[in-house]
Homo-oligomer: 346 residues x 4
């Protein structure tokens, strides 16, 4: 049994990690870290865990955890993991960081978009960007995995194959994204109150959302040139789910079948990526509760553009599920272990 410690177990992503790991046959949770609820029963914070988890919440002690655990998940605010990580810890334990600290290779870009100083830039180079379908082999050997952001996971997986195969005009990409409210976290803010979110839709972080450089960096690898794009997230009155609607000019005339063949080339054997039948648009309800990403596209000959859509559960493939998928890779387990839940509808 793999011993897993979670730092930040009482946020939405942390709780989802607990839920998934409780149903994982090869891992057990040995540490429910939570700065805010120390010594409180974990199930008192999340009553769904009543009679399933008896443990107390514990302090965020990474040093001690490194001695006791095989893997540490940090589901913590930006800057936390970078402020604690060191060679000694990484020599003892694998770390999967769900924050943005090690996702961006250029430390200046990180500091500029996140507005904080990076406390351990030396480990950025080593960290592997944990987008399993793209970096699988490098992840297997990693000590430190930078678990991708929710929007980036959905955006990159949707666009990557077409960009890599050179049919998209690189500087024409626009990603209009929509997310459920759990993406905003569990802290008490007026803006996240029920009555503020319900019966409303809005864009936020327009032209300055922090996931922009993360998406750009990964897509730049695909395009083999620097990509700058527009990324606009929107807040949707629902708990879970991300939908991205991506627009790009086409570099050449392509048929449905040609584009479909590209997706098949990359994703045919990927269990968690489902390229839908022709004409079917991805919808978040069909992936909720699962680790799937549903992808599809429409070619618009009138404008010579392609519209690419991707849908996933932001807390699973966009956070905790992908973190467990990374853990499975790190420990040579079946990649789908603990992650085969059928999407729950309605």
């Amino acid at each position: 049994m793999i011993k897993a410690g979670i730092i930040g177990a009482t946020g939405y992503a942390g709780q989802e990690l607990v839920r998934i790991l409780l149903q994982h046959r090869e891992a057990e949770i040995i540490w429910y870290g939570s700065k805010s609820y120390i010594d409180k029963k974990y199930y008192e914070v999340f009553q769904n865990m009543f009679q399933l988890v008896d443990a107390d919440c514990m302090a965020d002690n990474m040093e001690e955890l490194a001695d006791r655990a095989d893997v540490i998940f940090t589901a913590t605010p930006q800057g936390f993991c970078a402020s604690l990580i060191n060679e000694k810890i990484l020599s003892k334990v694998r770390v999967i960081d769900l924050s943005a600290d090690f996702r961006i290779k250029n430390v200046n870009t990180y500091e500029e978009w996140y507005g904080i100083e990076h406390r351990s830039p030396d480990f950025i180079e080593e960290a592997v960007y944990g987008l399993c379908e793209i970096n699988r082999e490098r992840i297997r050997k990693a000590r430190l995995v930078a678990n991708p952001g929710c929007y980036p996971t959905c955006s990159i997986l949707s666009v990557y194959p077409l960009l890599k195969e050179g049919i998209l005009e690189p500087d024409s990409i626009i990603i209009d994204a929509k997310s459920g409210t759990s993406g905003g976290g569990r802290s008490a803010k007026v803006n996240n109150l029920y009555c503020e979110v319900n019966e409303n839709i809005k864009a936020y972080g327009v032209a300055k959302h922090r996931h922009t450089p993360e998406i750009e960096e990964q897509l730049s690898y695909a395009a083999r040139e620097n990509i700058y794009l527009n990324f606009t997230p929107h807040l949707v009155p629902m708990n879970r789910g991300i939908l991205v609607t991506c627009y790009s000019n086409l570099l050449k005339e392509v048929t449905y079948e040609e584009v479909k063949a590209i997706y098949d080339k990359y994703y045919k054997n990927e269990y968690f990526i489902r390229v839908l039948d022709k004409g079917i648009c991805p919808e978040t309800r069909w992936v909720e509760g699962s680790n799937f990403v549903d992808v599809n596209f429409v070619i618009d000959k009138r404008t010579n553009r392609i519209i690419i859509m991707g849908a996933m559960d932001n807390l699973i493939k966009g956070a905790a599920g992908q973190a467990v998928q990374n853990m499975n890779l790190l420990f040579d387990l079946k990649e789908t272990e603990g992650l085969q839940a059928v999407p729950m509808f309605p």
Copy 2:
């Protein structure tokens, strides 16, 4: 592997049955019955099943199914199962009926409340009311299981121990119930449209809802006298979940500890019934996606009443989950097999 056939696989309860059975290690689905979608791919009706189910929807042929399956689930409108069941079928296959056809022992009561003639009253006596926690041993030996209604499951399990132990005034019981909208089924009716249900709460079927006699019959067994009660369901703008708030006069002065001891006597070893800590009210969000029923109570000394609350997922413990629990009992499997999903929040 137990071969399961589902008649009515394209309603909400039917689809939930599919979802649960796909994750059951000892059963496989051999028949996705659906009158409305014959020959259509099952996943085209429910895209969450894309790449998970390849089968087509098939006609409702109970005779043929009886030859091929070990168990038939009927998730069909009232009257359907009763119109087809016969000795020959029951001699070959176990039947778990999710409709109301065999729940009520008095055929006149059934015909009066449901407004239809019962087509096979001869099997009513034999049918076992499939409330697992209460009729476990009789279910094991049944050929025909009447899977309880959603409201009755939650209501009966909440009230049963106290009534059986004689602390409730039998003719004082009032059950005010609230349900998510999936309980209303998947047929296209104006009243179930998004804009009609959203931002609204209403009572319906006041003093005449069909689940009333079902609850009364089972509680009458507990009380060993005829019970008449008020049951008022309400429609809540959410997908899943039932909450019952039950009121009863107390026959004698009791303490919290005494009442808690009664619940423990009945439910201490019941995995799926969680009697919450003192002061914690059941909430549907904490059981969503699971087979749990969360129960608790408050004694009001000012009025000499007890308020009992129960929460569960109407599609799982209130329908498909309980049906699978019944199947597990029928085939001597571990009772929790396929049903150990941790509640999903948020």
Copy 3:
């Protein structure tokens, strides 16, 4: 023009008061009080007011307001109004208090249920309980109006006529209430976050909600004896609306027509109370955005009980609308002025 000052203008009830008064032809707002947002533009707190309100938020200065306003509305936490009110203020200005400070005549009851000391008990006797349909004449002459609570307004108006006419068994009353989330206020609490409220229903404050003694007091006047009842509020995932479902034993056999005649006797000429057609259940969607209370009932001969239902918009008839109705009475305006908005659906 009546000059109105609002203390607590940046809560949900305060904002609703602003919205209604902006559409009132005989009143103007001269003071947008808000402790939290002093010197901020009011429209920056509520962008719906952009280009409609240019004023800044101002401090809670009741003394100054008394000199400048004709009426002060206090939409503030419990204890605030009681801590500031005095003879000098009341000699200059009418006060409509939307908090609970002056609703309950017995100061001990108030202090026990609210857990705070009452700071100006001398004014309790003088204050008039502002339930317009019942206390209309006394309100006209009041200096200090205690605007009723949301649950009490809906509960009392639903039950009052039948209790007054002696057909209900006084100690058998149970009120099961359901409210939208705006009733919980606009302060940042984890429990009111979107993801905590959405897809959930729960009871809260069971057997100890503060609106209980308020309802009991008013209904005791109707019954001419002390009433103790059960009141259980529930939180519903919607913005606005309260539905109460009330249960009572009947003291004698009554017909639909007899009960209907009682309601007509009391409410036939009440514009804001609509007794629905036979068989139609009140629903919150049909009153949203209006000052209406929709009422109806069902007699259950099987149990000899009556089920009474009432629906209203908690922020209007349950708070700001009723406050304006009280203002209209105080200043001899048409009682419906500013309050004739047709309910908005969907």
Copy 4:
């Protein structure tokens, strides 16, 4: 008093028209047309109208209405108005058609996108596109007004000034739109059921939605060249509201102030268009219940694009409110009469 007849009064837009006209001081409704509910009380279809409307629903008799009414509103499916309109009717009565029949000047384009034959193409030329802020003077003199579609209203008003002033690259425009569910109408379809829409977001009609050519035509007038663009609508789990997020390449370097000046030039005196303060994104909650369109923009220097956002209530400015605004213009009333409701929040 202007006598108004409504054909199609029992859809969501028709009901909204009723609601607005009931609060209009210069108009009265003389005909509640509804094919589906003939002879039923109007309030039985919409209980919010109980005690406010006593009329019965009546057949769709345009000839008779032409004799009795001053203005006819047709809130009916595509093709209906075109099939009945004629010179005799237009000689007697003004017609405001809320369907798409007379919005598109090129009859071939109409027939291609709508898939039906146009039954009275002779009146297309005469019909005036009823986007009040742009065609005000022509509307005043019209006999037949083509009330704009919901998405086009919001899209065109957001983009029009910048396109007209030549700062947008005409063939680079992408409109990603999000709408509440009332836009889908009140007919009973599985896809619009509560459980199908709730907790979900999806795109639909990708690259083929019928509002595309309507937007293109109007924007082509602004650009003085043919515009082809991408328009992608999404269904959001909320009742009301449309948000458009528009992307365009900039033809030249512009500052915030320059773009703001353009909007001011066009909209400074437009009561119903609110260009928000710098940095504030339009949100549907702030316009719900009103005839406002909130607009704002962000310039992204990194990509040389501008992101323009617009929000409005799809049933008001996007349908019934704009229809009444058109009526006000036709009859020389104050343009805002009946339309000054303050947005209702929450």
